[in-house]
Point group: none
Chain length 220, copies 2
DNA sequence: GAACCATTTTGTTGGACCAAGATTCGTAAT
DNA sequence: ATTACGAATCTTGGTCCAACAAAATGGTTC
């Protein structure tokens, strides 16, 4: 069934944005029941090949890269020390490493958004909410690059990053230290001071590293 | 629905190989119809998280990596220009950006492996095999970092990267230019010349960029 | 031990209804 | 007569139900 629909798409030469026939049309076209067609559509949707909106119908899409990464967001796994250091090194590479491009592209809007996001940290919600905000901050930072592949990667790693943040921050105050570190990073951005930006961001990531290590020591 | 089933799995602590309740059980458990449950199961199956066989029922699995590959085997659709540039920029960030760490960690064994891999390029197999070797080369390069998170990301992006390679190289000779570029990169590594390494690697990636752009121009 | 049958479970079908967006059409105001 | 607005209708995906087909298991019988 999935194959038939794929063939249909290929045959008609449909491309991203085009609409598919309605589910009922597909039923008659392929002599299948609507439930069967629906299951096939579910699969195509899961593959990111179609987007389906109620009352609108299905349209061709290509979110496969994002879907591919979604696959791995199902991890509830425990974060090992190696995973932690790997992910943190990765983030350093991405966030600190792309400082130049960030400086090239950054707008006042970006800076305002970052200040706003960081402001939420100071409001002092519980640790889970604060972690989400923390993640959002870094995500927003990376989004300045306008690179969907990198954003997708960040989405994949979100569960792990969140866990790292929660774990690393149990004994630190989000309201004070993390907030201040973020603030320093944004200040450097606002001043278009690349070196300060890199230095402070790296320090911020390193502090998370140290806290996590201490946690692990304590746990072991 | 998918979320509910996921929660159920997490809650029960089920792991690969374990069986899920039957569809009808899930119906009563979640107060949903069998069709709804089935559609959710299709999604999970599409994600490679469950395997479902008649009479047996559904068992937990983890074929997510395999699924990630399947996603892109659907290729009647091609890599969009944005996906291409995103992925390529990402690779630049990773490979060129981690030059320092690579220099710190590299061993003679790494260099020997890279030379060996690149040697296969000169053997001049068809474009698909050559692309695989090309990918393997860059994968091996990144593996020097010993960072599993980054390696996983590379695995997921493999289908896209392969496609980019195939597309970019249709008119170039793997046996000559790509081989020579790689060789230059390894030579820089062998000489522990970080700047040369970065310069050559970046140039290598950029050439792929240019070729792809030309392809797109030609197609348009 | 092998052939056979009953049972369980997924696979598929056809139908039905709902909710909500899209469309149409009639009415009223200008 | 034309336009604007609102209500009725149509369309479409979302959900549900009941039933049958097909496949694989497990037990039963010879």
């Amino acid at each position: 069934m999935v194959g038939q629909i794929r063939d249909l798409i290929a045959e008609k030469g449909l491309t991203v944005g085009d609409g598919l026939p309605t589910e009922r049309d597909l039923c008659t076209q392929f002599n299948a029941s609507r439930n069967t067609v629906r299951e096939a559509m579910r699969i195509l949707k899961a593959y990111g090949l179609v987007e389906v909106r109620p009352k609108i119908g299905a349209t061709i899409a290509d979110n496969r890269l994002a879907r591919a990464f979604d696959l791995f967001s199902f991890n509830t796994m425990e974060v090992s020390r190696k995973t932690f250091s790997d992910v943190q090194a990765f983030r350093d590479l991405l966030e600190v490493g792309s400082a130049e491009q960030i400086m090239d592209r950054i707008t006042d809007r970006d800076i305002a958004d970052l200040y706003a996001l960081n402001g939420k940290l100071a409001e002092g919600a519980d640790i889970h909410v604060a972690s989400e905000v923390d993640y959002d901050f870094h995500y927003r930072l990376i989004s300045i690059l306008g690179n969907d592949a990198i954003l997708d990667v960040y989405k994949v790693m979100k569960p792990v990053i969140l866990r790292i943040m929660q774990k690393g921050k149990t004994r630190r105050s989000y309201k004070t230290e993390t907030f201040a570190e973020h603030q320093g990073v944004i200040d450097a951005l606002a001043a278009r001071d690349r070196l300060a930006f890199q230095y402070r961001l790296r320090a911020h990531l390193m502090i998370g590293f140290k806290n996590f290590s201490d946690e692990m020591e304590g746990a072991a």
